[in-house]
Symmetry: C2
Subunit: 305 residues, 2 copies
């Protein structure tokens, strides 16, 4: 794999699976972290089908407790157990999921061989739920029929890369270099201030990915989603079912595009399509009329940033 | 469909699914009753794939609470709800499954649109768990790591068919005919006893199907399984893993065949293959050496009796 962001769609359907669409699931490799976002029924089989590594998953994010977003989780966790998984798996979810999983494992007399670490989501307010040296993940509430969270995955600024010719020109010491990598300017022997930008390569823009699983149209999201590199926003219906979307707390393709436009994101990915639409072409057509850089979530498709 | 027995294999794998094998699930159409036996993850998608009718299922039998036998059930029951299922669905399972399902539905705020009727299995002794005018279903305990039941589906004797020429010869009245259909002999005008066999067509042999999901080799089963038309018996391993089979309370292909032979069944079907075997040919080869009429459970294959 090259690139810092590979997102593979495991499922693009809402509620009921269809003959060619699976319920929600996305496999994200983000700056070498292996992440699963939602886990509808059949997710582990999809991961195998697309030659991704089940046992490499370190973080699992479950947006809410409608079955099409987590019914594949008990099976996936059991398979990790049977495959002798040893490293910790971190699960970010509502606290009720722990009760459900513990009951399932109790009655099957299963004691997981690996450590499953729960991190409970706050359904009321945004918060940082994971952070290491390279990435930061936040959750934020979505407006749906039951408690539901979206997630934002952000690349963190890394150390700057110092230009070789500058090291020679200014005879930079290892100590100087560390300071410059961290963004400091440099004072040369004659007391001249050399700006950091002059000494370092321009950093790559930082990647970010936002995931809005199930939500009614909510303009307030635009602020949280501002300027992300890629936004996944559900589009369960097209505008012909706008009222139904509102009643069921879902969005239409146009509404997803309006959010993308308002939030000034770079690209939009739509999914969670109702089984009533046999052809998903209508979704992308509707969304593109508002936001040109729209793409369709399709099983097995990988998006690279 | 013609025939009184159509059994379609939805999954033939044990524990973890493989790229081409699903966990346990069988769709049985038995004298026009639509029955699902076990429901591993992905079962609803398999039912769609093989063009079977999800909404026609009336009875669901779950042998035990290892995930590869029921992790597809919450999704299947939810889909029936979303598909506006109206008729009752009868679920035969251990009582703990009710707790699991009720918790899942509670947290997704789901109130099923149809009536789900629970019938709890007795893990200790055989019992009749369903009976109507055409079929009878019994459960019986299997020896596995956790409580587990097998099932026997039996066709009930139907009314006999009276030969047309006998109706004319003996001038049988509608009243006589009803008695003869029920197996009675006939006393003619001259006081001669005419045996029922002389008046009626020989009935078709009664069909029966036994399902032994997960079990260690257990000779005592032969008595319960005596003479069934078709026996499904798990064969998780081949004899190269005989010790492992014993430790994990599973059977080998040879052991399944020994049970079939001892029980004098007509045909044997084996399944629940461990993912360590890429090629299932070895199972049938091993079993056939003991019991010739052995068949392999394979996804999508339908057995007609």
């Amino acid at each position: 794999m090259s690139g810092n962001f590979h997102l593979t769609i495991l499922g693009s359907s809402s509620a009921t699976p269809t003959s060619n669409r699976n319920p929600s699931g996305q496999y994200l490799n983000f700056i070498d972290r292996n992440i699963l976002i939602d886990c509808g029924e059949g997710t582990q089989s999809q991961i195998r089908r697309y030659k991704l590594k089940l046992t490499k998953i370190e973080h699992i994010f479950i947006s809410h407790l409608h079955g099409d977003h987590y019914f594949g989780l008990p099976g996936l966790l059991s398979s990790l157990h049977l495959l002798n998984q040893t490293h910790e798996v971190h699960l970010y979810c509502f606290k009720e999921l722990k009760e459900i999983l513990e009951q399932i494992f109790k009655y099957s007399d299963t004691y997981l061989r690996y450590r499953l670490v729960y991190h409970f989501l706050d359904p009321k307010r945004p918060e940082v739920i994971f952070e290491d040296d390279k990435i930061q993940v936040s959750s934020f509430p979505l407006k749906h029929r039951i408690a539901c969270c979206g997630f934002i995955f952000r690349e963190k600024p890394s150390l700057l890369s110092v230009k070789k010719d500058m090291i020679e020109l200014y005879k930079l010491s290892p100590h100087d270099i560390v300071k410059i990598k961290n963004g400091e300017d440099f004072l040369d022997e004659e007391g001249n201030l050399v700006k950091n930008q002059h000494l370092t390569h321009a950093p790559n823009p930082l990647l970010s990915y936002a995931y809005c699983s199930d939500t009614v149209y909510d303009e307030l999201l635009a602020e949280i989603l501002y300027n992300v590199s890629l936004l996944y926003h559900e589009a369960t219906f097209c505008n012909d079912q706008k009222e139904r979307a509102e009643v069921t707390f879902h969005s239409t393709a146009e509404q997803a595009a309006l959010i993308a436009k308002k939030a000034q994101v770079e690209q939009l990915l739509i999914g969670h399509f109702s089984s009533r639409y046999k052809d998903t072409g209508v979704f992308v057509q509707e969304a593109k009329a508002v936001f040109e850089k729209t793409f369709l979530a399709e099983e097995g498709k990988t998006f690279v940033l």
